[in-house]
Symmetry: C2
Subunit: 235 residues, 2 copies
């Protein structure tokens, strides 16, 4: 039976981290809201015995799971996107949880006052927050990924072990999104991040990912999602 | 061998969620920085083959793990603070990940512009963010916990299954911290949250937790941690 993913239509958002794992694995999945509208999300939020706080939500038969990083932890083994070693699986999950933290900060740059108000109503605050984000937070997170890659005893081409895992796909998505949203900042940073940039290149060159990115299943970046290109927030 | 916890001295912070689990279980643990100073945290961040992005960090022999929710997921079974059922363990972890999201929002109320600048330098922005936080975010999160408790088929006194888990301890900590930081808001909300408030009461009445809270191991809430009492941000 196909995996069912529930995530808002119209944006890549947090659902994209799950989509990339499905696409790389060639898994059978249905992007439910794109088939039947966002109302199916409210339905699954309401009906579940384990009601998630927010999408993305995965339904796998009787199992309903929320939280992006937990969905990937759950899918890792069946999709062949984690090592067999139990401690490396925890480490993979730990890295993904830090991706989650970074994603929240990337989102909050354009919404420092709250999600309930438009960007246009919090532009001065966003400009102020963006200064620290560019100067300190982006380097701090990306340098951490660079350090993990450089220090991986099995392969400096992968974050964990000697093969592709779902966190490599997530790192691709982070760099891809940041390059869309903050092109000047990323241009200035890229020479400091040789291993990170190599993962970005390698992942987007993988046949299934390349086919996905070229398909209409890949929603283009836009100014409704996490990664928004507002030139006034870039370097 | 004792578990070793690495977390900043002087604040409860995210480390407190782990401390509560250790204390309830009567586990043998050492709060490393309180013994030897914050420098041991930098040491473990530097030396680890799996370098965490930030504390809290747990060292259990050769295993070093970061991310609060993952530490609790790892400790759950050995400390007897999760059910045996694998899907309920994932559900427990999922709830804890939502605690993590809520904690980040609670922190950012007093730091909407960034962690690198003092509260005093972002007071107008904090007041603005606090309005949405009080009106929408706190109710949304706490009502979600209330709904989970009310809907738990095994026990409405616990979030998961029919016994105490680490997320009940974390819910206690959330309510305890919010009551310190936002006493007026919580006073107004408490009648809408009978099950949540009952967990708070029940947890703080447990013998080991009560003894811990009365000890000098429990760092008092203060204006350096996550939960800060700034009357101008309260209702």
């Amino acid at each position: 039976m196909a995996y069912e993913l529930f995530y808002w239509t119209g944006i890549q958002g947090r659902g994209e981290f799950v989509r990339l794992a499905f696409e790389e694995a060639g898994a059978d999945y249905v992007d439910m809201a794109r088939e039947a509208g966002d109302r199916v999300i409210f339905q699954v939020l309401k009906d579940a015995r384990t009601p998630s706080f927010a999408p993305p939500i995965l339904r796998d038969g009787e199992v309903i799971i929320g939280q992006t990083a937990l969905i990937l932890h759950y899918l890792g083994a069946p999709l062949g996107l984690v090592p067999n070693d139990e401690h490396l699986r925890l480490w993979t999950h730990q890295i993904q949880l830090t991706v989650t933290d970074f994603v929240a900060e990337i989102h909050d740059v354009h919404h420092p006052i709250g999600v309930g108000s438009y960007y246009e109503n919090q532009k001065p605050e966003a400009r102020r927050r963006a200064r620290e984000f560019r100067a300190d937070r982006v380097p701090r997170f990306l340098d951490w990924f660079e350090r993990i890659l450089a220090g991986n005893p099995q392969s400096s081409e992968h974050l964990v072990g000697d093969g592709l895992t779902y966190v490599d796909l997530s790192l691709f998505q982070l760099v891809d999104g940041l390059t869309y949203a903050f092109p000047r900042l990323m241009h200035a940073k890229r020479n400091d991040l040789p291993h990170v940039m190599a993962v970005w290149e390698a992942v987007r060159g993988r046949p299934r990912i390349a086919a996905y990115l070229a398909s209409d299943r890949r929603i283009p970046f836009n100014e409704y999602g996490i990664f928004r290109h507002y030139p006034e927030l870039d370097a």
